[in-house]
Symmetry: C2
Subunit: 459 residues, 2 copies
């Protein structure tokens, strides 16, 4: 008998799962229906700021696989504008609202993949529902914002939130010629970095012309005729024709929770390494799940396309009859803000303290290439080690072109639980166009190891 797979959510995680399952099982063996409530599937949500900023000119460029490819080549019944409104685990069926006018219907399943993604944080503040207040979670959101920029030519924008998305959006809007104010309640941009590293980014944004207002939580939005006209903090009002919310997201688990699929302490859906939820035949992947942090040994919810792809792929291989496991994460992330590249892996100082580590750290200033080689750029590398064992717990890099991708070598070192002493001996690539003869990573590891040695606490 043909088994029926239903996938809720047509972006990275959902469509990876569907594709992998299809790759291992033909349509006679497995029927696959994927529901996506928006107009687009399988796109790069991370690319939206570049669409808004103009570096990417066509929204279709962000689409990895067009709907026809799923339907015609992979025999995956992808239904756009089809929103799943309920999961009935007893009947093994989902209720679907067809926004194209097809009404509501039930679709039965034997296997279910929940890939409902993230829900943008939308502050519960006066005026937050006014017209002109935009989120940028989905490609539809991005296209809507782009339309407004082109048709209404707003002059002033407020971006709320100085995390990755907020910063990327602030830069994008400056590129579009808007006057931009960036407002955040925290004391620095990039709350996921340590303060000593985030300060550089604030300066870069100011250099670009962004008005950076930190330590001032937004308390509400002013509006006129239902349309936003500005934002208020405790100490000022900022006029705006447009507000963009860049506050990040949390796992979108309403459907799963209503159906009784257990969520974890981070409020993401709990799965095992094979992406199975606690309910037989129900899988979950992507921004809606929580995963395991290999350094803190705690669950975390991290919304990132690369995890979503891997998790979806893992679920799909397992549904297809193979074996795959998602091993967890070490908190690696990278972003480009103006001319700065910003990257992290492992734990920050604060996170390490929270996870019970006593830490030792060093910050090293160096260059991306040999100092004498044209195009050498500044970079700052921070390394955080466990004081007791010398284990590398985390690292951060802020620098100009060529700096950030170096974080990957450290992500592997963190993953492998290497000590900073061992990292300092690594055989990393060297030639003048690529690194000083001591790569900044090696210097940072060495200095951290030396500090540990001075403290006399190495095991």
């Amino acid at each position: 008998m043909t088994e029926r797979l239903v996938v809720i959510g047509g972006d990275a995680a959902g469509m990876s799962a569907a594709s992998q399952a299809r790759g291992r099982r033909d349509p006679q063996d497995l029927r696959i229906v994927a529901f996506e409530k928006g107009r687009h599937a399988s796109y790069s949500a991370c690319g939206i700021p570049y669409l808004v900023g103009g570096e990417v000119s066509d929204p279709q460029d962000l689409v990895a696989r067009r709907p026809e490819v799923f339907r015609d080549e992979l025999d995956i019944d992808l239904r756009l504008r089809s929103e799943v409104t309920e999961i009935d685990l007893g009947r093994r069926a989902v209720a679907v609202h067809d926004h194209r006018g097809g009404g509501r219907y039930w679709e039965p399943f034997d296997q279910l993949v929940i890939a409902t993604g993230g829900l943008p944080h939308r502050p519960d503040l006066p005026g937050a529902q006014a017209r002109g207040v935009y989120g940028v979670q989905t490609l539809d959101d991005g296209i809507a914002l782009l339309d407004v920029l082109e048709s209404e030519r707003p002059r002033r924008a407020v971006v709320v939130g100085a995390g990755y998305i907020g910063l990327e959006m602030a830069e994008a809007l400056v590129r579009r010629g808007l006057e931009v104010s960036l407002i955040d309640g925290g004391d620095q941009p990039m709350g996921t970095l340590d303060p000593d590293m985030g300060a550089l980014v604030a300066d870069a944004l100011r250099d670009l012309g962004v008005k950076v207002l930190l330590g001032e939580p937004v308390e509400g939005f002013s509006e006129s005729g239902g349309r936003v006209t500005g934002a208020r903090t405790g100490s000022r009002s900022v006029q705006a024709d447009l507000v963009v919310l860049g506050l990040g997201s949390r796992p979108n688990t309403a459907l799963a929770e209503a159906a009784g699929v257990p969520v974890g302490e981070t409020s993401g859906i709990r799965t095992d390494r094979r992406m199975r939820t606690a309910v037989e035949g129900v899988w979950a992947a992507g921004d809606c799940v929580e995963t395991f942090h290999l350094v803190s040994r705690r669950p975390v919810a991290i919304a990132l396309g690369t995890h979503a792809n891997k998790q979806g792929r893992t679920a799909g291989i397992n549904i297809g009859g193979g074996y795959a496991a998602f091993p967890g994460v070490v908190g690696t992330a990278v972003s480009k803000i103006c001319e700065y590249e910003v990257a992290r892996t492992g734990l920050t100082t604060a996170e390490a303290a929270q996870a019970g580590f006593e830490t030792v750290e060093e910050i090293v200033e160096s260059t991306t290439r040999a100092g004498y080689y044209p195009g050498a750029r500044r970079m700052r590398t921070k390394m955080i080690a466990d004081r007791r064992t010398g284990r590398l717990l985390g690292a951060q890099i802020v620098g100009q072109e060529g700096a950030a991708k170096r974080i990957d070598a450290l992500a592997v070192a963190v993953w492998q639980e290497m000590s900073v002493e061992d990292v300092s001996g690594l055989d990393l690539s060297y030639a003048p166009p690529f690194a000083p003869v001591w790569d900044p990573i090696l210097i940072a590891a060495r200095k951290t190891a030396e500090r540990l040695e001075r403290l006399g606490t190495r095991g």
Copy 2:
């Protein structure tokens, strides 16, 4: 009593050793004399091609620490143009020829660091000693070549050898406006890469206008009045006003061997991990030593500034009374040839076979950034795994800007003996300006793991 340290060779390894020893022991405790036969000490030999090509305008830019710094700030008695001509282990002294006119004298030591570097391969061919045939081993060599380029304005050059140095020199001479022919007996440039990766580099050189003659060993040089006029291969003659030898180097061990300091099977000086030779109180570091390859588990001699620095530092810390060890290498290297970046780590297919591994490999074409992001460049990644265990044995990358430094993540993975399966699950950094959502490294690892799975031989 004051102990006496003599260092033979004033470049990376020797001066790192001297500096580290000084950092731990003051002049009353340790007197340090360093002999350098050339006019320059502590410079970046790897930077010479960029000096010749014009990217670096002043030879002094390649000097990491000026002689005065060693003398005045570090109390290291650095003697330039002072060539050690003999080591007498019985008398514990070295014979020094002072090329500044000071004659010959003996300098006694308690501890000795041999950092005599590499000796450029100079083919034993007719005409190889003619004027106009240049090596580029030392900064003095580079400056001499530069003088000739500026004063004699040669029009046509032949570069012999298509390894890293030959390629870098060919590019440098094209930049200087010369017509350049590159001649090598091998079938591809970059003999340290596998042929499937080296081919791209040959094309790039041809695009730059270099005449690339492969599979044609040079058989001799023509000369007129003692001055080189061209090079001969088995099948042709190539006219040249200038010949540059870029054939790499071998450990310069004549002094050590004459004194009875044992060399290994690679003909490099043998040391332990602390850089001690077999002779009490005699240390060696840099291009003159052999080191241990952590994948092949065999000794290798690899001339690279980054190893020389680390080894010198290791020797110096130990001489200074601390503890340091040089852990070995995994064969990581990187180079920039025209717009191509070329990198490798671990073993090539051929090296793996030689080391007794049966291998499985994959080559993946991808891009350095998300395909839709401006500036995304092509890159080709090759991965080589042990067929029996799936262990990553080596990797190579050839690509355009942003490709090559990725080798570092793989260098760590090789170092840690990770399997390609484990590499495919790594948490590497992702954002559209830095990588496709599946980093090329992850794709290559995944494809290699899948091939292993298909072969059904995973342990």
